[in-house]
């Protein structure tokens, strides 16, 4: 009953603190909207520089065969399912110019077509296997777009060579996308991570809400009453979870309005968000336990926030660092971060069309983390702020 009263009081305070509430609610929808704005013209096109040194070759009918130009067309011909280009081929006069553009990250990779390329192709076409030539490609290998661009460009080159020479590949390859992943636009691919932002941001609201009670001395006032730390933090957490669910739902709404289609049931995704919120709020309680002021809470909360952002796979996937194994399941170091499970679960639901039964493990992990962090938070809070020693 007292926890309920604390819940109502906290909710009332938050609703009146319009700036903080507004920022918390708007953060994820804003990111979703921003991605949509950036990507509304279509998905990302990877720029490839083509240094075409091919001199061409005279055909028997008197025409000139310029395979370098055909390569350029083949690269430009690779598209997304909706027809928008995957690769943007740009001509560079030489390596010097290409290197300069690559250094400025104006392109992801270069392909150098040699002088004898057309000549070699013509001989191959006539069945002469005695000669070969070398296509050079390269770029900044630390550029995350490099691998994608080169892979796609070489696929285009290979396809063209097979077409011209009439040679069948020794082994055929066929791509089978998981779920609806092939049909996802880049904007849709970013949506799950954007939703996690809404959850992660709750760590600030959670830690700062509790720290405010400490800083203003109202916690001492509460301490004089017969209320337990569980009731105080339980009430505060309830209000925060509600705010979290509203934030996630708002982000979903904006995503749907921007053209996002969830492959799985939306309520499961919201459930994942709610349980994730609970564990992030638990972390916020842990943060609040170590602080005495709102500004301290804000500064300290940045650390777990950064950990969650960079090590949970929200921004980019990281290799799994297995700590131990339970049955057939490997438990990784980053599994202690709630968003790690939330990202996987949301991806399963939103992109791969999974239902509740397919995200049971992630929900269970998030529930365990919620209980764990909330328990630690309550214990630390009691020890550092509600003790009378």
């Amino acid at each position: 009953m007292k926890a309920w009263t604390v819940f109502l009081k906290t909710l009332r305070e938050m609703l009146r603190d319009k700036w903080i509430l507004g920022l918390t609610l708007v953060f994820a929808p804003f990111f979703v909207f921003l991605y949509w704005m950036i990507l509304s013209g279509g998905s990302t096109s990877y720029t490839v520089l083509v240094i075409n040194k091919d001199v061409g070759v005279q055909r028997s009918d008197g025409s000139t065969f310029r395979s370098g130009e055909h390569i350029l067309a083949a690269i430009r011909g690779i598209t997304y399912a909706d027809g928008s280009p995957l690769l943007k081929a740009t001509i560079a006069s030489d390596r010097t110019e290409a290197d300069r553009i690559l250094r400025d990250r104006g392109a992801a990779a270069f392909i150098l077509i040699p002088e004898d390329f057309s000549q070699t192709l013509q001989k191959l076409e006539s069945g002469d296997r005695s000669i070969t030539t070398m296509i050079t490609f390269g770029g900044d290998l630390s550029n995350p777009y490099y691998m994608v661009a080169v892979n796609l460009a070489l696929t285009a080159v290979d396809g063209y060579i097979q077409e011209v020479t009439g040679q069948q590949p020794l082994i055929g390859y066929m791509e089978e996308p998981l779920g609806a992943s092939a049909a996802r636009s880049e904007f849709e691919a970013y949506v799950p991570a954007s939703l996690i932002f809404a959850v992660i941001m709750l760590i600030f609201l959670a830690s700062m809400s509790v720290a405010r009670e400490i800083e203003t001395g109202t916690l001492r006032r509460l301490q004089l009453t017969p209320i337990s730390s569980l009731e105080i933090l339980g009430g505060v957490t309830g209000a925060l979870v509600l705010i979290g669910v509203v934030a996630i739902t708002l982000a979903f709404l904006v995503a749907v309005l921007c053209g996002f289609h969830s492959q799985g049931p939306l309520w499961v995704a919201i459930l994942v968000g709610a349980v994730s919120s609970l564990s992030v709020i638990g972390l916020g309680m842990v943060v609040a336990s170590f602080t005495h002021t709102v500004s301290q809470a804000f500064i300290v909360a940045n650390f777990p926030m950064a950990m969650m952002m960079f090590f949970s796979g929200v921004i980019y996937p990281l290799p799994k660092v297995t700590v131990f194994t339970v049955g057939a399941r490997e438990i990784g170091l980053y599994d202690i971060l709630p968003p790690t499970h939330a990202v996987v679960a949301l991806n399963k639901v939103l992109t791969l069309g999974a239902g509740l039964e397919e995200v049971v493990y992630e929900l269970a992990a998030l529930t365990i983390l919620s209980i764990l962090y909330f328990g630690i938070g309550v214990w630390l809070f009691k020890r550092f702020h509600l003790h009378s020693g």
């Binding site: 007292k2 305070e13 203003t216 109202t218 001492r220 006032r221 017969p226 209320i227």
Partner: protein, 310 residues
Amino acid sequence: MTTVLQARSLTKRYGALTAVDDLSLEVCEGEVFGLLGPNGAGKTTSINMICGLLKPDSGQVTIRGKVITNGDASTRARVGVCPQNIVLWGQLTCLEQMQFIGQMYGMRGKAARLRAEKLLEELDLLEKKDQLARTLSGGMQRRLNLAMALVHDPEILVLDEPEAGLDPQSRVMVRDYVKSLARRKTILLTTHNMDEADRMADRVAIMDHGRLLTVDTPEALKRTVGEGDVLEIDLDRGSMEAALATLNPILPQVSATNHTLVIRARGVVEHLSTVLEALHAVSAQPGEVRLRANTLEDVFISLTGRRLRE
């Protein structure tokens, strides 16, 4: 009178510092008990232990014989605390926060609301009941701070510097209100304001360096620094040493502070002409002459000294 609150041999240390050293005191039912002391004397630490917010290293506090410990919430709830700092939820209205804290003490919503409205009316805040606490003036916030301590109708009221930061009108109002509570509630108040303690307290305890120096009624305490009234004479010219030498054989309690002679005696006015003649004899020329009654401040200074603490 029945003892309601009893502190026995309370001691609290913070490292090498002994904040409260073997403090024992008893507060009787319906009594207004003043706890005086300079900054750092250990008043707030004592209050925190008495409220159950702080666990003593040794000793114990009982309320009607029941020991206050950290876990004993029901005994703790018999105390209402008005802290020195304004402690309010800025984003809640006056009524909301009073109702909230009442519910935290186990009151039902409606009962808490009725009690809150009654207190707000008594403290002239009813008109502001739906106003956010952060938008109230400083004086109003102080009054609300006091009302918050009373919402659960505690048996014992602890007031930590209740008049601090109040304008004269609010000060009079709060003083009258606290006086109106006297006899109905047992009140323990800490203050720097000797006048406030003198006017309000039935008994006063003075503490310094964590130790209790004395406990008695204000009148009895004032008598300890000298019978009767105080005559203060500023010396414009002449030797203070010579003045003291000539007056000490005539009057029993003569002292000096800077350029002022301080003479304490019963019917001190009757001695005025004798004093002036004696001063004239040693070529000491009196300036301003003041006559006043003994105050608690005299007691306080005589016990704790003039040296600055902070």
